[in-house]
């Protein structure tokens, strides 16, 4: 009972943080039909900026990190990414009203990772002064890429079975390449490399760190506006997508929290690391995942998976999951 009261108070307090307030503000302003526009170029730049900062910081810290510590969380990331796609595919296959490819693509997107949720979680953890290893964001591709690959492979296998056509080989490398070349992951990986091999501390402290939260608030506004705009699309597809999009992030995050707890016990994964890992699992790709899926599973209806992810999945991951896992982490690890 105390936990629930504690969680609800925390949730209310989180709504006042700029991160969540701007997200909700974006939805409101779109709902009242405002003409406020954030130019696309600004949005693209912000995504680059945020991931570059996360990458630089991660890269600098990986220099001193112990690789044994990182191995288990990286392995768990792959397991979570794959499990989410398998579980989601099974759930959707039980629903006769859902086209199989749509279900697989949606599960793939929810297994993949959202850069905006990740950045929001990092800021909220810093505000609560909960420490996490700076390399945790680098777990992103370990969860993201296997999930997208598995979804595309499953959808193609399903299609071949249906058409009864001979086995066509599914090329995995182009999917990996496509993911790595996406704007979000490219910026993150470049940042990590620069952090590892160059000495970018001065620009990190003078430019990237001071502006991080401000730019994040603009990104949250865009995500909020986009979430509302895509709701109309989601209304046109089966309602099961909305139900899945609401519950899946919470369940995925809890599953990852359990695995993260094991890593905490076995290799000393920090409490903040477990929380961030859970948010990465709860998040669903909104920037780079959809084009990869559209190219890999062209027969799936994009309205189903983008609507689920952008208009319900991402807001749930940010507004509910981040406070939930911070509260849970504080209870479990007493930080």
């Amino acid at each position: 009972m105390e936990f629930i009261v504690d969680f609800l108070t925390r949730l209310l307090m989180q709504f006042q943080t700029p991160t969540l307030a701007f997200l909700i503000g974006g939805m409101l302003i779109a709902a009242v039909g405002s003409n406020l526009k954030i130019p696309n170029a600004v949005y693209q730049f912000i995504v680059f900026f945020l991931l570059m900062k996360i990458g630089l910081k991660g890269g600098i810290e990986i220099r001193e990190a112990n690789f044994n510590e990182m191995f288990l969380p990286a392995l768990f990331s792959i397991i979570v990414g794959i499990s989410i796609v398998i579980a989601g595919t099974l759930v959707f296959s039980l629903l006769s009203s859902v086209k199989r490819e749509d279900g697989i693509a949606t599960a793939g997107l929810f297994g993949a990772v959202s850069a905006s949720s990740l950045a929001a979680a990092m800021v909220l953890l810093e505000e609560e002064s909960i420490h996490f290893e700076a390399w945790v964001p680098a777990l992103y591709p370990f969860m993201d890429i296997p999930a997208l690959i598995l979804a595309i492979v499953l959808a193609n296998l399903h299609r071949q079975r249906q058409e009864g056509s001979g086995k066509k080989e599914i090329k995995v490398w182009p999917i990996v390449k496509d993911s790595l070349q996406g704007s979000a992951l490219s910026a993150l990986l470049l940042g990590i490399v620069l952090g590892l091999f160059a000495k970018p501390e001065s620009i990190l402290h003078s430019f990237y760190e001071p502006m991080f939260r401000g730019f994040l608030s603009v990104l949250m506004l865009v995500m909020g506006m986009e979430a509302y705009a895509r709701l109309a699309e989601l209304r046109r597809v089966a309602h099961w997508f909305a139900v899945y999009a609401f519950f899946a992030p919470i369940i995925h995050g809890l599953f990852a929290f359990g695995l993260g707890y094991l890593a905490h016990v076995w290799v000393g994964f920090s409490a903040g690391g477990v929380i961030l890992f859970s948010v990465i699992a709860a998040s669903n790709s909104d920037i780079s995942g959809p084009p990869t899926l559209r190219a890999g599973i062209p027969s799936a209806n994009p309205s189903s998976y983008i609507g689920s992810s952008t208009s319900i999945g991402t807001p749930v991951a940010i507004v509910i999951c981040i406070p939930l896992f911070i509260a849970l982490g504080q209870q479990v690890f007493s930080v």
Binding site: K37, I38, P39, N40, A41, V42, Y43, Q44, V222, M223, M225, E226, E233, D286, I287, P290, P291, R294, A295, P298, S299, P302, I306, T310
Partner: protein, 106 residues
């Protein structure tokens, strides 16, 4: 000034597959093409061309124009594009009779 008749093929489709369509156009022996941002309304709903931030830029639309000198080649481009993509992606294609100035450009 002499004008020569030629055929213009217009393809309005998703930005993601523009690259593949341009490959088909080049394979068919056309010497060039023009791509521009497109938007409007069709069976897939309304597509914007505003500069408002879209989380997924690749899902916007483009209009590809290619001018060729004979109708058979134009039809072949249309047929190949439709077969390769239009079962799964949004798109329309039509042709237009046009007059060009320097025939050697096409």
């Amino acid at each position: 000034m002499t004008l020569y008749s030629a055929i213009k093929v217009v393809i309005i489709t998703e930005k993601m597959i523009a690259k593949g369509i341009c490959n088909i156009i080049e394979q068919e022996g056309a010497s060039g093409y023009t791509i521009m941002a497109a938007g409007g309304k069709g069976s897939h709903g309304v597509r914007n061309i505003s500069d408002r931030a879209a989380v997924i830029d690749d899902f916007s639309d483009v209009r590809i124009e290619v001018i060729v000198t004979d109708k058979e080649r134009a039809k072949s481009i249309m047929k190949k594009v439709a077969e390769a993509y239009f079962n799964e992606y949004a798109g329309i294609t039509y042709l237009d009779e046009v007059e060009v100035l320097r025939l050697s450009k096409f």
